[in-house]
């Protein structure tokens, strides 16, 4: 196991970031997530894969309580982040979302300058004391988003003027600006070209040193490329969860095998 390419896929921590037990999600009468048990490790990229409507995005959105905004949505079971139940009444969802950031399918920069896109979060959460501090946070975040060099000379140009790939990296930089612990990504590359996709994937690997990354993707190859752990969802159930290398070479469940080999979803 001295092969570097294999070592890179190792997860060097046993620490559990998210511990989810018996999670059920209902949309009205529709039982969307059925009894999901999963432990997401820290400093790990975890990919959620599965056919459309299998519940992977729903489950992802439970992790920062984005489902709270949907009236008919009901979440049961235990979801704890670092041992603390995130659905506890004393947890403020806004604070939670600063800790559990999110990046969406379509890049959605605020209609503000590049600088303000990043500065918005740290400002409202009161993470900075001075303009100099804020400048530092903006630069650090843009560097982490691997977009600093491309925008450093036009920080006050509108974020919406960037290319699609740049906008998505700007959104990732915005998400990391509040120093989250977990980054949720819902199809972050599906609107990007292959080059921008490769840049975002490279970025995800770098982000792993500081955050847990959970990515929902329809591209099985992307899941295989970027993640260390893969979870396969089907019809609201978590069918299989394990090391990405195992899932893609020798899955245990025939449903996983069918899905990843392009048979019946």
């Amino acid at each position: 196991m001295n092969d570097m390419r294999i070592v890179e896929r190792d997860v060097d921590t046993q620490a559990i970031k998210f511990d989810c037990e018996n999670v059920q999600v209902y949309y009205g009468d529709n039982h969307a997530i059925k009894d999901v048990n999963v432990r997401i490790e820290s400093n790990t990229v975890t990919a959620f894969i599965g056919p459309s409507g299998c519940g992977k995005s729903t489950f992802l959105r439970c992790l920062n309580r984005m489902n709270d905004t949907i009236d008919i949505c009901r979440v049961e079971g235990k979801l704890s982040l670092d041992g603390e139940n995130i659905y506890d009444r004393k947890v403020d969802p806004v604070q939670l979302r600063a800790k559990v950031g999110m990046v969406f399918q379509k890049p959605n920069p605020f209609p503000k300058s590049i600088y303000d896109n990043i500065a918005y979060g740290p400002r409202i959460h009161g993470l900075v004391d001075s303009k100099a501090d804020l400048d530092m946070v903006v630069e650090r975040s843009l560097r982490r988003g691997a977009i600093w060099d491309e925008v450093k000379d036009r920080l006050h140009a509108p974020g919406t003027g960037l290319s699609g790939g740049q906008q998505q990296r700007l959104c990732i930089a915005r998400a990391v600006a509040t120093e989250p612990e977990v980054l949720l990504m819902d199809e972050p590359c599906s609107a990007l070209d292959p080059i921008a996709t490769a840049q975002v994937e490279e970025l995800i690997e770098e982000l792993r040193t500081n955050f847990s990354v959970i990515i929902v993707t329809h591209s099985m190859q992307q899941a295989a490329r970027v993640s260390q752990r893969t979870a396969f969802f089907h019809l609201g159930e978590l069918v299989e969860f394990g090391k990405t290398g195992d899932i893609f070479t020798n899955p245990k469940d025939p449903r996983t095998e069918s899905y990843i080999t392009g048979r019946i979803g």
Binding site: M220, Q221, A224, F248, T249, N250, P251, T256, E257, S258, I260, T261, G262, R263, I264, G265
Partner: protein
């Protein structure tokens, strides 16, 4: 695999490459039997045919490797499909080597046909070749039917082939000691026996691939090793 891919072209491509393995396997089976028959019957024409046929086996190997590389590049196969492509490449390599051994036997047949026959040797070799051919047939059947039990059985039977090789090794040694004029013939016969024994090892490797293909695990348990000739010094008296 009962289920079909959503892409039917993908299914056809995987089937095609496996069909080439079966075709190659059939050619190798024929080559083994023909090589042994040509040896026993001192049939130089048949031996020449075996040598010619090997070209076809080599071409098939090339073709299978090209197809497998194409499948990897274009389809990015995963799980069972990936194991299918990987095993196809290895099995074609094993079959190609077996074809070479059969060709080598056929070459030696042409030389041996010019010499005084050594009693019993060629029929023993033919029996050994038949045992290996049957192992290959079963290994290919186990591949088609994804039959781990049959593959396991093939692995065990390689022990018998090793035993036969052992016995022949001693026999040739005795002949050579009795009469130095037998040395040239016996050397050729010994190489033939060794070639057949190596073929058995390649069949075993094919059986291993079948087990990996089905289970995802390479068999680890030690199979019986019966080739002890590496430790033989001189035959015991009496």
């Amino acid at each position: 695999m009962i289920e079909e891919h959503i892409s039917s072209v993908y299914d056809r491509e995987l089937e095609a490459v496996q069909a080439h393995i079966m075709k190659m396997g059939g050619l190798v089976e024929t080559a083994i039997l023909d090589a042994a028959t040509s040896l026993e019957n001192r049939d130089e024409e048949l031996a020449a045919a075996v040598r010619r046929q090997d070209l076809q086996i080599d071409e098939l190997e090339q073709r299978i490797n090209t197809e497998a590389a194409r499948l990897i590049a274009l389809r990015a196969p995963a799980a069972g499909d990936l194991r299918t492509v990987l095993t196809v490449m290895k099995i074609s390599g094993n079959l190609e080597r077996m074809g070479d051994y059969a060709k080598n036997i056929a070459k030696r047949t042409s030389v041996l046909a010019q010499m005084t026959p050594i009693e019993g040797a060629t029929s023993d070799l033919r029996r050994m070749a038949q045992a290996v051919e049957l192992m290959l047939k079963d290994a290919l059947d186990s591949y088609i039917h994804r039959d781990v039990d049959l593959a396991q059985d093939v692995r065990v039977r390689d022990g018998d082939v090793d035993q036969m090789y052992n016995a022949m090794f001693r026999q040739f040694l005795t002949y050579m000691m009795e009469d130095p004029r037998h040395i040239t013939g016996c050397m050729h016969l010994h190489f033939i026996a060794k070639n057949i024994e190596r073929m058995g090892d390649h069949v075993t490797s094919i059986a291993d691939q079948v087990i990996y293909l089905v289970s995802g695990e390479v068999p680890t348990e030690v199979r019986p090793k019966a080739d002890h000739t590496a430790f033989i010094t001189t035959p015991t008296e009496g």
